[in-house]
């Protein structure tokens, strides 16, 4: 009986050792991965260029922020009982969506708006009038969003509305940090350094009123 058990035990160990070896050389998935959901991968599809634009934007300051925002609505799920002081009441199911968004606000000056009359050169002196800085772009790409909680069904319109609210909030935060004033100062510094490097001794830069 002992010999019989020993034989089976050896067989089990040999089988386990083979499985272990096969997993090590990736011939077999690990035990954990057998029930792991496979990632959904997109196919390689062509990229079509629809527009080519010429820009002359000097990006001088970026502001990066992270915002959490949520939204809720009455859902179609099972109603629940809510205990109150006067007894339990039946409340409808609530659908909830919580999104974390990371965004980048780019501020700078559109140099396309510099006209001939904005540049005055006298010998080695130059006077330049620059347009004011503005928010050029707020970048919130799909990889910048994280859904923290999602209960119920949410249509694309509601999701876009929530993401737009996050984008607006990041823009507000950027403006509160005086991004435009800092972008104006930085732009003046960059242009002044460039002009001095090109041989101008006296450089005066003002912003358009």
């Amino acid at each position: 009986m002992r010999k019989f058990l020993q034989k089976y035990l050896v067989l089990i160990v040999v089988v386990l050792a083979i499985i272990f070896l096969f997993q090590k050389i990736n011939w077999l998935p690990s035990f954990k991965n057998i029930f792991k959901s496979q990632p959904v991968l997109i196919e390689k599809t062509p990229i079509i260029i629809t527009e080519i634009n010429t820009l002359s934007q000097l990006i001088t300051v970026t502001f990066t922020d992270e915002i959490v925002m949520d939204t809720a609505k009455i859902g179609n799920g099972m109603p629940s009982l809510l205990p109150t002081a006067v007894g339990t009441i039946l409340t409808p199911a609530i659908d909830k969506l919580v999104i974390i968004g990371r965004g980048k606000v780019l501020a700078g000056t559109d140099l396309k708006n510099i006209q001939d009359k904005d540049i005055q050169v006298t010998g080695d002196s130059i006077y330049l009038i620059l347009p004011h800085a503005k928010i050029l772009q707020t970048i919130m790409n799909p990889s910048d969003f994280e859904t923290f909680d999602e209960k119920g069904n949410w249509d694309d319109k509601a999701v876009i509305a929530l993401k737009s609210k996050i984008r607006n909030e990041i823009n507000i935060h950027a403006l509160q940090q005086n991004i435009l004033q800092q972008a104006d100062t930085r732009c003046k510094n960059i242009i002044e350094t460039f002009l001095k490097n090109t041989g101008f001794k006296k450089v005066q830069i003002d912003l358009k009123n």
Binding site: P39, T54, T64, I99, R102, S143
Partner: protein, 190 residues
């Protein structure tokens, strides 16, 4: 003795199974707040892409689900003026020679409203694509678009536009002969 050896071996195998649960590397911490830049954006390419995915790779999930989305992205390239130093500008009277750094991808922008679900087919035993799943698929498309920037020719356009812009600007400030070239070292992606 033999049984002790076998038990030890079995224990080692089990410990290996437990150890195989590796932690996923955490996302690189982003620096939040204000940062100074000196990027001259000179070219924008607006591109479209179809996002096609089929979730049928997990063996124990009954039924199929597939999705078709379209997205519009804006790729912006330009030159980093902070790399431009005094020695890159040579002046000889009314002649100037500038050596600019090569163009790089400054950013890619895919607005949430520019991602549209065109078709979705979910079988009875499967759940609809969640918000996070759709974002993950769009993020894969974002990565593919970013990687294809060079093949789209945006860097060449950005360098041509930068040359034209600086040429015009220097003409306005009084230079007659302007020669613009690019540094030999190529730095394509950020």
């Amino acid at each position: 003795m033999r049984i002790f050896f076998l038990i030890t071996l079995f224990g080692l195998l089990l410990s290996n199974i437990n150890c195989s649960s590796k932690k996923e590397p955490s996302k690189m911490q982003q620096v939040l707040g204000l940062q100074k830049m000196s990027d001259l954006a000179t070219a924008e390419y607006v591109v479209t892409k179809i996002i096609k995915a089929n979730d049928n790779q997990t063996w124990y999930k009954i039924g199929n689900r597939k999705i078709l989305m379209s997205c519009k992205a804006s790729l912006v390239a330009g030159i980093d003026l902070s790399q431009l130093t005094e020695k890159d500008i040579k002046i000889d009277g009314e002649n100037v020679t500038i050596t600019l750094p090569h163009a790089k991808l400054l950013y890619i922008n895919i607005k949430p409203e520019d991602i549209k679900v065109a078709y979705q087919d979910v079988s009875l035993f499967r759940t609809n694509f969640s918000v996070q799943e759709k974002d993950n698929l769009a993020a894969q498309a974002e990565k593919q678009i970013k990687e294809s920037a060079d093949s789209l020719g945006i860097f060449l356009t950005a360098e041509t536009n930068a040359t034209l812009f600086i040429n015009n600007f220097l003409q306005k400030v009084g230079f007659k002969n302007i020669n613009i070239n690019f540094s030999p070292a190529k730095n394509l992606l950020q």
